[in-house]
Symmetry: D2
Subunit: 343 residues, 4 copies
């Protein structure tokens, strides 16, 4: 009996990827997608590529019978996620809830006015959500049903550095990471205007990006990050480097062990020892690629991932799968990977 | 004594090119540039690449001493050009005026509500302007000082077909032409949003583009055009094909003669017999490239030009030059071309 | 019991798409992929995105036990397909064979030296192959097992014009169509060198493209095509226009009927009456999109498709499916479409 | 009397830019351009955009009357520059010689086998060349006539860090810098094949790029660089970040002074305090843009430049100008900048 799934605010790019993945999911049925703007219209009005692949129409969120679903994804913007979650819970929803906004990623409500510019609308709920960086935190506590899905930059950066953070008590890390224009959402902006974006690279929120506290939350206080996010002239994908000076030389074999050991249970983290992954390897895939090069005491860790997939929608499906007791890659890879088979 | 030039509404892409060209013009001084949005700010606030190349600041149009200039360019949007021109003339301006909007390209005011969606604000001025498709209409009538600079699609299409129209009394012509995103102006739109534009081609105003009557005005009634304009995933340049069936076979030599004869006085039209020009040949240059291939009775004429240059700013400079009695390519090419030397 | 499938010459772009699709196919198992260059190496050495998704390695074609497969795809270049097919048949292969090269698309061997520049190496086999433009020719004759999969331009162009050709006895059609760089294969060339390709459009084989006779073979002699193929600055997808003058006015409703009637059994042809499809609608999908605009007697038919999918790999899977008696969209869409259900 | 200039090996991208700039240079005449491949053909066969702008044809290098020129540029690949220079000097050439290859950038011949993979063909000449990083080393010693023009990455990186190196005795610097495809030259390669390059970022020579010793030669031994060069999906321009931890806090004003003081004589270095420059600001301009952001002890210096201009051709023209006693920006900017006027 397939699980019934709904997506709230499904007209954006992340919503489009969730629809595409859930349509093809072997154990789930996409039962409803909401959008205020497109309510009553076929899904393909927002996502033309889906025409001919589904007969579903968008519905208005208020008309949703929330008790009818096993799991609900919220693909809203920051600030809207918390409101949508509160309403669902107030309406008695007791199923799985996976919020893809930043609204439940932090334990401290004080982070929101500082880093996001708004007061948190539901601070009492913060402690109920589990941070869904699955490759670090799974298996989740028994009974987990509320997940705060990680940010795209944060996923790449945290996965690249978590193995390091477990072995180094102190280091300065310089991070430069570039993201594609789909990360800015569907609304046209000056920074996504084609003549300004093509052939351009533009840094923004230098040393002040909101994913920084999210990453530090994973890595602890040993690694001090200087993070320069930038936008690049492509649509999908994040590519970055994390450069640090090791306090003492670490041989290649030891480094390799740090990474392989950390991700031995992670079917969707691919490791590239001795090289940095190219961006294109991961785009349109559910993988985060991590590679590294060491020379004397200089270490570079590179990472690449599709911001809409491992950085959003496909990681959300991974979270759905494990909460439902399914193989972690169901609906994402053709068949379970060795890491998912019982050992 | 250099001529003093002003640009009205100079914060857009065409304005930026006019500034760049006039800065380097050997016989002109760029004396003022207006913008409401940027008044009081350096030009490089709108055009960052110009920083370090000019100390000029934008001024508000109302503060301009219009009698201080030998020539004024209006780089406004359709509908604003006529208003700006009327004001200049009412303020007693008697110099050269080159309007780059569509507002004075037609003799019939009735065309504006039909094709542009607005009533013409200064229909009495229409007859005073000369249509500035320089390669067809120069030399202009003695005393010409008001020029309606042609549209970008219209320039390419009219130049590609004018030699044909002089020799064929009747033909159906199928035109497909693609333009870059700078043609949409500086305001972000859904159609210039990077994720929608990259890797995409999108037809618009199919068989109904406003440049169609502009082209027909040049070509007369013999050629019937079916015109499909489209947007392509690049910033600058127009590339198009015009395909027709010749009423009877025309040999290659005759065709070559039609083109070379038509443009023997045109220093900035380049001819490519037997091949279609690539888009990149003309981008960032003041040339319109025209090539053709004939096979039996099928004829293809290809054209390519930079929409911001030959399709706007550099053709405007050509017009300025000839009205000032300068070599047509002054400020556009390093030295006069053979076509400009006295014969 | 899943069908066992092999791919010959699977290291190119089309091979990569076949691998990706067959890996996820619900009724098939990808059992072998050959490549001379990569023999012995994992598939991901040629297709990095596949790493972590399959454990298969490339094998050398000569080591293949050809009797072990239910179906074999040949993803070779023009000229190699015929040699590979001949060898398979000589080695006693009796299963389904789908050749994606141009080598079996024509009944007349004389076409090859004229249009492709080589003598056909197996002219005796030409008559045994069925031309696999599935939306026009299915259901195939009982017992069909050898398929010549159509070309990418030819698929788009033939599908766009076939409904017209059934109703017009005579017309001149002007076609301009642009394709992405993946159509040139994996070998770097001057025309795919990034600095020459970015922001560029380049026509080639003007009025002389090898897909022209392929299209005429479908459309018959009534429509006379002037075909200008061009390369555009993107990786995947073909977008084109076909423009014609109707001998007499045809109302929109009649035109719509021509198209809907023609493709009522075609689950992977999407129709867009009254507009031309954007390229991005079809890229990364198995659909061919067809739209049209009529104004007086001028008709424009637009088409768009992914050259690697509907123009190659996914159409090949459609052919595989129908020869195996499976739903036509198996492995291509999440669920059978209405057109595939028994009526 | 204009100076007569020649370009050796002028068929590549840098050669094309030198031609374009010298054509428009107010005090120079481009008198000859050599190319083995294109000898006897018009310049526009290699550089189509130049058609109609010059009547010059390529000549074979061996036919050049070398005593006929005031200055010669060598735009050859690494390894060819030294051979060409030796031949010129052996033929008695006594004018200005500016080599744009890496062949004379180092004092130690031993660097070439280690970093470039070849034995230096003219080690005796190394000491005669002056390293032409003009913003650091000008004015050059009296009588300088042989210049080794700096590399593109090296120019950006050295200019970004030189002001820092003058004030910090010790620091680890993490550099990530991305370059466009024109930096790879005109020969198609796997890494410039459009389908592999578009939408991709790819690191190469991680911690091992040949520009590293060039930069260290400028900065001295205090700054230890970890340099990750990468290729980005655009044609022109380099964009990079250099991130370091300051040994103690430095206030913004002091930092600004470090940079403004260092470049107060540099008309073609633009400073952007408090922000990182966007790539597009500098592309198609002769400027190197440098910006910086400081937060506590973390400092980021960003840099951007056109790899073919300030990273090659326009910096070479700056060197030419100063050796000829002309304003440094002649032929590069419309008018001399304040930094060039006598104070």
């Amino acid at each position: 009996m397939p699980k019934r799934i709904a997506i709230l605010h499904g007209a954006g790019y992340v919503g489009g990827e969730l629809i595409r993945l859930l349509q093809a999911h072997p154990f789930c049925t996409l039962a409803a997608v909401t959008s205020r703007t497109f309510a009553g219209k076929p899904l393909w009005h927002a996502h033309p590529a889906l025409r001919g692949q589904t007969e579903l129409c968008f519905v208005d969120e208020t008309r949703l019978d929330v008790l009818d679903f096993d799991a609900i994804f919220i693909a809203a913007e920051h600030g809207q996620g918390a409101r949508a979650a509160r309403q669902l819970l107030e309406r008695g929803y007791e199923g799985i809830l996976i919020d893809l906004s930043a609204d439940f990623r932090f334990r401290q409500a004080a982070i929101y006015p500082t880093w996001f510019g708004f007061e948190h609308p539901a601070p009492d709920l913060l402690s109920q959500f589990v941070y869904g960086l699955i490759d670090v935190y799974a298996p989740y506590p028994e009974g987990t049903r509320l997940i705060a899905n990680p940010g795209c930059f944060a996923t790449g950066l945290a996965l690249a550095l978590w193995p390091i953070s477990r072995h180094l008590s102190q280091a300065q890390v310089a991070v430069t990471a570039l993201t594609g224009a789909s990360g800015s959402g569907t609304q046209p902006k000056a920074t996504t205007h084609f003549p300004e974006r093509e052939g351009n690279v533009r840094a923004y929120k230098v040393l002040a990006h909101q994913h920084l506290p999210e990453v530090q939350q994973v890595l602890g206080n040993g690694l001090h990050l200087a993070f320069v996010p930038a936008s690049g002239p492509w649509t999908r994908g994040i590519w970055g480097t994390a450069i640090l000076t090791l306090p003492k030389a670490v041989d290649a074999e030891t480094l390799n062990f740090w990474f392989t050991e950390s991700y031995k249970q992670s079917p969707l983290v691919r490791l590239w020892p001795g090289q940095l992954p190219e961006l294109r390897y991961s785009v349109y895939t559910p993988f985060c690629d991590i590679g590294w090069v060491v020379r004397d005491r200089q270490l570079v860790v590179g990472f690449a991932l599709d911001n809409l997939l491992k950085g959003a929608a496909s990681q959300a499906i991974e979270n759905l799968n494990v909460l439902l007791g399914l193989p972690q890659t169901a609906g994402l890879l053709p068949t379970p990977t060795p890491a998912e088979l019982p050992t």
